[in-house]
Amino acid sequence: MIYAEVLKLVRRRGLMIGATVVMLGSLLLVIGIVAGLHAHDPRGNDAVGGEQGYTAVVFLLLVFGSFASGMIGATAGAGDHTAGVFRDLVATGVSRMKLLAVRFPGALLVTAVLLAAGMALAVAVGQLNGPSSGSIRSELPGDVEMAGLLIGTQVVLACALATLFSSRGWIIGGLIAFQWIIEPLLIHATHVSLREWLIGGAIDQFGRDDLRRYGEELRFGEGRALLTIAVWMAVAIGLAAWRITRRDA
């Protein structure tokens, strides 16, 4: 069934092209611009490579990867409902919970391939000439963990919320708005104890300083951060499970 979920996603040409362009195309574009600027004025602009180039590419991968993973997750969550085949899946007798459960690994697998390509690109950029203040080899495991956590939670959230609302577009838009407008506002405006419950801030705790969105203004322990992430995942999946078991197919 997981293979079937992957098949449903990868055969969507528009989705796959869109996600690849957003996640990898945007990186190539930025790399190209930086390389062009360096070629035009080598003294005024750093070369594209080195450890700094690698870090910049990983940072962009986190930003654009979260958009792309939202697209993939939301499509996995709402695809059967919008195509009208959910009732046919239910009529096979397989449990609705199982139908929900297979959506997550399907979407995660597809996103993982794009993420791996993005990380490979970052490592390749790191091999080029450019400024360095550290070692890619030492930073890579932590960065992969951070990227996996961010992209993975985004996929699960999008998939669960799209199942809850049977909508793809609204969920993609809503997640982007939350992540880039609402959450930063909340982090600046709310009390410290509330900030620790925001998922973006919690994920931020697992990144090294150069990859953090909120920097020093939001620091708390990894245990607390893991609890926040677990609560968000549990609530989102719980709501999706509640909806899928109760709705008319």
Partner: protein, 310 residues
């Protein structure tokens, strides 16, 4: 009750409206069973309850001898269904669509994909995206999907919608083949009387959520009185004359001839003939007629319409 599909007191309400109202059904094994009713009669809602797509408000369901919803997984593993118009992932090919559904069933179902595609005549178009399929091809693919689990019971909701006359004929043959050659049971809902009459062995007529009558086609058409066709020189005058006659239940004119539904027995025909002749009309034909399911259906549903409060 004793059947492959048994329903007792089944009710499904949406607010105050009962879409299915206290329905009892027992569908025998290895027969084609028609569930006939006008649009909005509750046919699809009943099917959705059978398949666990919606929860009934009250009543019990047994599929393949298994209580629902407890034995749902086992029962639906050997049940195939088409509910409303068949829907698919348009971006996937016919084969891929079947593969995704077969994956939810079992490995045998995955192995059957090519076989069922061949069976419904879609093997040559199996790699084409479903969004390019005609409605008729989608219906065929819907039948193929229903066959993936090698079902003992097929539940088909308006399955000939969108098929051309040749496709409908082919479909009839296929359904009869399922029943007669393979011993499967087919529960077929339709508003098309001719289709049900040609395909089905038994029929339940449903209207406004209730099963109004049930039986074999012969039993149903025999109910509701005898029929007479009368050839007369002035059919309109004859009808006026017979209007309100105690033996006449219904009268209509078709192709210049008077069609009557009368009380059973010879006396009614004799009394009607006498009345027409004594009124000076020339009666040149008076013959019994075989009632069709259509006439019986219209009788039942129109009578129900008369009972409806204003």
């Amino acid at each position: 009750m004793d059947g492959i599909l048994e329903v007792a007191g089944l009710t499904k309400r949406y607010g105050k409206r009962a879409a299915v109202d206290d329905v009892d059904l027992a569908v025998p094994e290895a027969c084609a069973y028609g569930f006939l009713g006008p649009n909005g009669a509750g046919k699809t809602t009943l099917i959705r309850c059978l398949l666990g797509l919606t929860r009934p408000t009250a009543g019990t369901i047994r599929l393949l001898g298994l209580d629902q919803p407890r034995g749902r997984r086992q029962a639906l593993a050997r049940t195939g269904a088409i509910v409303e118009e068949p829907r698919f992932h348009g971006h996937l090919s016919g084969r891929e669509n079947l593969t995704t559904i077969a994956a939810a069933r079992d490995r045998d179902a995955v192995r059957r994909v090519d076989d069922v595609l061949r069976r419904v005549g879609l093997a040559d178009r199996a790699t084409e995206q479903v969004k390019r399929y005609s409605l008729g091809m989608r219906q065929r693919l819907g039948v193929a999907r229903a066959l993936l689990g090698d079902p003992q019971l097929l539940i088909l909701d308006e399955p000939t919608n969108g098929l051309d006359p040749a496709g409908i004929h082919e479909f009839r043959e296929m359904i009869r083949g399922f029943v007669e050659n393979e011993g499967r049971t087919v529960f077929l809902s339709s508003h098309l009387l001719d289709e049900v009459e040609r395909i089905c062995d038994r029929v339940a007529i449903v209207d406004r959520g209730r099963v109004v009558t049930e039986g074999s086609i012969a039993e149903l058409t025999a109910q509701g009185g005898s029929r007479l066709v009368i050839g007369v020189n002035d059919a309109e005058q004859a009808r006026r004359l017979l209007d309100g006659h105690a033996a006449v239940k219904a009268a209509s004119i078709d192709s210049g001839r008077l069609h009557l539904t009368v009380e059973p027995g010879r006396e009614a025909a004799a009394a009607i003939n006498r009345l027409l002749v004594e009124a000076g009309l020339d009666v040149h034909q008076l013959a019994p007629a075989q009632a069709t399911l259509e006439q019986r259906f219209l009788e039942i549903t129109s009578r129900l319409g008369e009972d409806e409060p204003e």
